[in-house]
């Protein structure tokens, strides 16, 4: 719907960071990529769709922040003095950082759809989407929800073994 499209309308490029394998450095790379792009003067957003193990907030030292709602949806957390990185993660929605998100697929899918269409990103040069390991609900839902916005592509992360 036009309303759904609005929130991603100002985003120039969407990049997904994927791996089949866990613990290879997806979130680390997503964070470093965002920081490097910011240094190059770009406006960057990170969408952390790892619902069970959201690592990005801590990596950017914003784990204690909270998100708010506005008319067009969620307001992302803005990182740093210059607010040049916008971040959305389930980490911000937890009452306590150690709370486990013990959800089955359908509930995860619903939140991911919301994260894709209901975050008021504003104008971004790059939106980096960090994913959990695997090829399951989160990945299917994220790709389906992003398809209308024609992501630039995926970066695959691995380790040597």
């Amino acid at each position: 719907s036009p309303a759904d499209r609005a929130n991603l309308a100002g985003v120039r490029h969407i990049l997904l960071v994927l791996s089949g394998k866990g613990g290879v450095g997806k979130s680390t790379l997503s964070t470093e990529l965002a920081l490097a792009l910011r240094s190059a003067g770009k406006r960057v957003g990170i969408l952390d769709v790892d619902l069970c193990g959201p690592s990005i907030p801590r990596m950017l030292r914003v784990q204690d922040r909270a998100v708010h709602q506005c008319d067009s949806g969620w307001v992302p957390v803005f990182v740093g003095q210059d607010k040049a990185i916008a971040l959305m993660s389930i980490g911000f929605l937890l009452e306590r950082p150690d709370d486990a998100v013990v959800w089955r697929g359908p509930k995860k899918n619903a939140l991911i759809k919301q994260f894709v269409t209901d975050v008021a990103w504003g104008d971004l040069d790059f939106l980096i989407v960090d994913t959990p390991p695997g090829t399951s609900d989160e990945h299917i839902s994220t790709v389906e929800a992003l398809r209308p916005f024609q992501p630039l592509g995926a970066i695959l992360v691995t380790t040597p073994q």
Binding site: G23, D98, T135
Partner: protein
Amino acid sequence: AEVAELRARLRAVRHTVLVLSGKGGVGKSTFSALLAHGLAADETKQVALLDIDICGPSIPKMMGLEGEQVHQSGSGWSPVYVEENLGVMSVGFLLSSPDDAVIWRGPKKNGLIKQFLRDVDWGEVDYLIVDTPPGTSDEHLSIVQYLSATHIDGAVIITTPQEVSLQDVRKEINFCHKVKLPIIGVVENMSGFVCPKCKNESQIFPPTTGGAEKMCQNLSVSLLGKVPLDPQIGKSCDRGQSFLAEAPESPATLSYRNIIQRIQEYCEQHHLQEDNVK
């Protein structure tokens, strides 16, 4: 009726241990494989290793069983045997090619897990080890639910020393509390590295917030042991060999063996208590 079916199938399983972590890539499958090898070293014990990581099944490769297929018989699916007393089941054996992606949503994954428990003819088993994917989602909820038909001795939770791992592992510990799954203890993998040349120790993954030790203290959970990094571990896994057999002198082997023994003792004690209660 379903529960009764599962209960019947799992009746001959004495001990069940789940290997969990909130975090990926910390060494769950490595540990599950070595736990299986370690327990099966006693030829009088029958060991079963069930790999329910449906998207990323590592166990077939780690056990040297890539390319094996599952056979059906009158009594159900046959596990693939590494040794006479060590049987393995994984979705990896059901794929026509090892690079096939299993792109399934939750319900389909749950269905396969139930099938594994219901249709695999494990026979009499002393130890059933269940290797899980990272996270706290469908696979984890389902395995706890289905295994309530039998009983789970407890969970072994794997981590590495850094806070980024621990923050996910704390969630996993909370998951265990939530579903009333006893925690046998925590294993800290990749805990330091001793250079084989100069013998200097480095912290490749520094425990910036106190590592598993501090976390276990804070959460009143047992720390089963710390295992140092050893490049031979990754090599053995890639080659499908038992690291314990390939590198018997490694400090990592010593750590693993101590941890395996503690798990065995926990299970045996557990059983004694249960028998006493009866």
